[in-house]
Symmetry: none
Subunit: 129 residues, 4 copies
DNA sequence: GTGGTCTAGACCACC
DNA sequence: GTGGTCTAGACCACG
């Protein structure tokens, strides 16, 4: 489901975009591929319709959905592929981020340790590999 | 020495803070430990003195330097240690970041591959280890 | 025969009008001049009957067809002439369009080149002329 | 200057975008390259700041200008080139448009005649060429 | 019912 | 002063 934190520093519309992308990735969009309407969601989440419109607009601009005017919004067929391509591009940012940590004195083992933790890979597994 | 990108989306004062921290880490602060004056730097970088004041204020708040009224700002003796402690805390953010990538379908090898790249560790080294 | 793109940004009813006009121009309307019924077409094309009604209404308003209550819609006898007159009027829009391109730095040769391409006129033909 | 037709069917924000592009093409942007502020223009044109924000947002997305937060918007250096590239792409639409006219019975000479008119080329010039 | 656009007015961060 | 975000509420076109 959708969780919006109105007090967060990250704009609501960006939170919405993230949540939509998560839903798409997890397949939480109805099998007909129709996305919830602006009005409906704005009531559900107690968010202004304009803000939702903006979020939807960005999602559409990214090619993740398309609009049938007067009918509704639908998931694009290649939405999943596009998302994964975007994720790949995001790994470039990860590189910058890690490089910054390195400059600040964080060592290699710490970084990989975090990766292991996230992917639930324990040390032994790594060695055996 | 200092490079400020006024077109960047990250606020100038944050850029300044980062640059100061980099300098401290690399030891690029004069041996007497005196930091450049607000007026001098604001001219050098063509940045509003208020902005510099804000950056210095934040640095001071982090205990990285202290002010001698009428004399100047000086590097705190434990600045380096504080910075490293801060870096450690930042690794928590890295965890969040990687977790997000994982959700988006980026796999473990990709993440570790980037870490290897940053720390200039080639695959063989890892295996031998 | 009819191709409706529901994802298109141009309203369905306008697409319908265009398609009707194309059919009239190409003579693809049955020799008796009867147009398909709203109900039949709405099923065929999976389009809301209201939308079809609207399209037919506009076509009628343009004098391209007339309704025989309880019997059906028939092509007007002067439909072709009316269409050509309308096309002539549309050339005014073309002028506006080209003028806009000119302002944006597109030169004469490019424009004429496109016209040649559409009318399948190669350069030599122009010269000989 | 800017002329906004609030009664037009084309959204105000699109009108604004067009006007900006015209100004850029004609060099009507101050030599320092700074664009008028949202607030100022919104007062001048009696248009809501949000609408202007939207127009600026799109212009920025097209790479025609960039924002220095808290300082203003400035023309991108390659704005002119980008605009011309966009115009070139637009000629593809022209082809579609002319093809449609052809289908409706408009002949080649009419089309070229309009091009001549717009580019102020009389027949003799063409022949001599 | 759907999405698209706009206004009026507010609050915030940054410079 | 600047831009960025948001809300509340309105109107329109389309289906």
């Amino acid at each position: 489901m959708f969780i919006i934190d109105k007090m967060s520093r990250t704009p609501i519309y960006e939170q919405l975009i993230s949540q939509f992308e998560s839903c798409i990735l997890s397949g939480d969009i109805g099998s007909d591929g129709q996305l919830p309407s602006v009005r409906y969601l704005s009531q559900c989440l107690n968010v202004n319709p304009n803000t939702l419109q903006r979020a939807y607009g960005e999602i559409e601009r990214r090619g993740l959905c398309y609009t049938v005017p007067g009918n509704g919004r639908y998931l694009a067929k290649d939405a999943l592929e596009r998302l994964k391509a975007a994720a790949f591009k995001q790994t470039e940012e990860l590189e910058v981020y890690i490089r910054e940590l390195k400059e600040r004195g964080v060592d290699y083992d710490t970084v990989v340790g975090i990766a292991n933790k996230v992917y639930e890979i324990n040390e032994r597994t790594v060695e055996e590999k």
